[in-house]
Symmetry: C2
Subunit: 410 residues, 2 copies
Amino acid sequence: MITRDECRACDADDPLASLRQEFLLGEDEIYLDGNSLGPVSRGAQRCLDDVVEVQWARGLVRSWNNAGWMDAPLRLGDRIARLIGAHEGEVLVADTLTFLLAKLIGGALELRPDRHVIITDAVNFHSDLYIVAAMARTAGREILVKTIDRDDLDDHLDEDVALVMLTHVDFRTGEMLDMSRITGRVHEAGALMLWDLAHSAGAVPLDMTDSGVDFAAGCGYKYLNGGPGAPAFMYVAPRWHGVLRNPLPGWLGHARPFEFEPEYDSAPGMRAYVTSSPSILALSALDGALDVWDRVTMSQVRAKSLALTDLFISLVEESMPGIFEVVTPREHQRRGSQVALRHRDGYGIIQALIERGVIGDFRAPDICRFGFTPLYLRFVDVYDAVSILSEVIATSAHLDERFAQRLSVT
Amino acid sequence: MITRDECRACDADDPLASLRQEFLLGEDEIYLDGNSLGPVSRGAQRCLDDVVEVQWARGLVRSWNNAGWMDAPLRLGDRIARLIGAHEGEVLVADTLTFLLAKLIGGALELRPDRHVIITDAVNFHSDLYIVAAMARTAGREILVKTIDRDDLDDHLDEDVALVMLTHVDFRTGEMLDMSRITGRVHEAGALMLWDLAHSAGAVPLDMTDSGVDFAAGCGYKYLNGGPGAPAFMYVAPRWHGVLRNPLPGWLGHARPFEFEPEYDSAPGMRAYVTSSPSILALSALDGALDVWDRVTMSQVRAKSLALTDLFISLVEESMPGIFEVVTPREHQRRGSQVALRHRDGYGIIQALIERGVIGDFRAPDICRFGFTPLYLRFVDVYDAVSILSEVIATSAHLDERFAQRLSVT
């Protein structure tokens, strides 16, 4: 079994090690929940201070033009484009993920007027399921939402399918889907493909262009560290610009917003999908948080992510054999940047870990979820996290009685 | 004509005078655009710093529960309720104004399934016109949006009308409508009433309850000083709680969001209209900006607002007779908290004013718009603004040639 010293040696060799100092993290805290909420970065603080104390305080309303607030959703989109394999002018930052999905689903259904089925994953994130059902109701024709086992997708792809919407990395299990293969199959069936990148952006290499993706959306507060409730982003393939309509239009998506025209006339390009301005404070935190990404490549991030998750899985299995079911795939090409461990007392285990400074989270009914974020996590953090998890399992002191009883019979 | 010294005397007697120090405003700048973007308050700064440096930096993901982030949309709603004459549990802060209007329009149309007309104002804010048209398209039945002259509203109210949507204070002219009378007439016709309070909240006294309003929404970045692109708020009369459906649902509006249920089951009360979390940074700035409202009553604010706008109108007319058409109504009960002056060279005039430190704005085609915000404006500011406006009119040096030519023949 790998030793703590060997982990320290890995950290010493880690080309990303110095980036940890860009984040405000306590020395003793092991943060394995950056897949839920990324931490504060010095870049986010810096940008936010500048927006409040200079742009808003001194520039006041003039900053909409003078400080570039009006263009911020597109400018930030261009910064994120680089991380998801898209080009400039193909990504927009705005709203929240659910609203962006609403725009993409509503718009996409109009592009396949002769088809009446949307396919999604029965275990998709529930907010995705709610919004797809809601948009199906308002499509102006009968739409059937089929929530399937995603492994059976090929069986469901026929000439009735208008749109397939899948989440690229499963929020519970951390399983990553084959974006290129699935998108290709969906296109062969004449349908459109929408990917939810919530657990992918900043976590795994992505290539919207090469994968042939039609539409995608993701969020800014997980691996991108944009802050709680940060604005989301959306991608529209250039072939759909000027074609995909925004079903939730607003004045800032108008071709001439300051002409105050009573009829909506969509702006060209991604600006068409702006409804109203997201919070400039929120955008600025995300903007600053993106600075650190200019210093890394996604292949560096991916290499470290796989090393961290490999290490975690092997330490868990070696130190606590038979205690957990490792739900996350072992094959690298099917793994995101998190590890999910199944245990029926997962809730109590996570609470006990948090009390000891190891922050993971629990996803009902039985998943202990740990995110591995290469920008600020150290190999030694993984080692220590597993040591503490072993202590929790070995001693039931911090667990509830039901859990303690169960441990005693395991 | 009132003198500068008399204005200084008004300031000395002003019970709200001390509040100006709660805002970050340059001593020499006269900010008459708080109806577009309110300035930075010390409260907003304080709350934002606390959220970033303590709640986000140290609490990390735990702050969703420990710092009350999850309840912030409802907690802030309760703070705004007080300013609009609503009760606790009737107001929600979330998203942006356009999305909240979308939810209310979409939901309201379902409540009048036998009616097929929406009435709105032909000169309503254009984003309102775009979203009402968009929601009409997706109602699942043929809906006619009638954009009328609001003075003719009574002529259009018949048994076909499902919903009337009006903006309470006209964004161009500053005219305030009679909320109680209009709401009453709309109800007599069996229709529902939705008010846009963008230029009303924090500007004029409002009473959702007494006025019998069904639905309302407004924004956080104007008179409430919540920051650029601040989250918006919505009001739903308690008789519609549990009845009005959210047509854009998300997981945070689910009765049990952490049960991850595939079927949407709406939370009770206003939480039903939460889709996803707005930016917590944005919410915190608005939260802090609301602190100053705890130290005033809306009747104090209204009294000073009318005094400031009366002063501005009389100074403009006395010092520059015949130059401007005062578009804003002179009757107090029909005036919001802004003054609109019509001039065909309005654009050039506003630019010249801004160069001289008087910040107003221009609304096409010919409106010079000045907002009067009692929390931080002084009577002497109004005096000085008009003096500078007189200088601009008297000297054409800073105006474009076309404007200069016109002035020479005036």
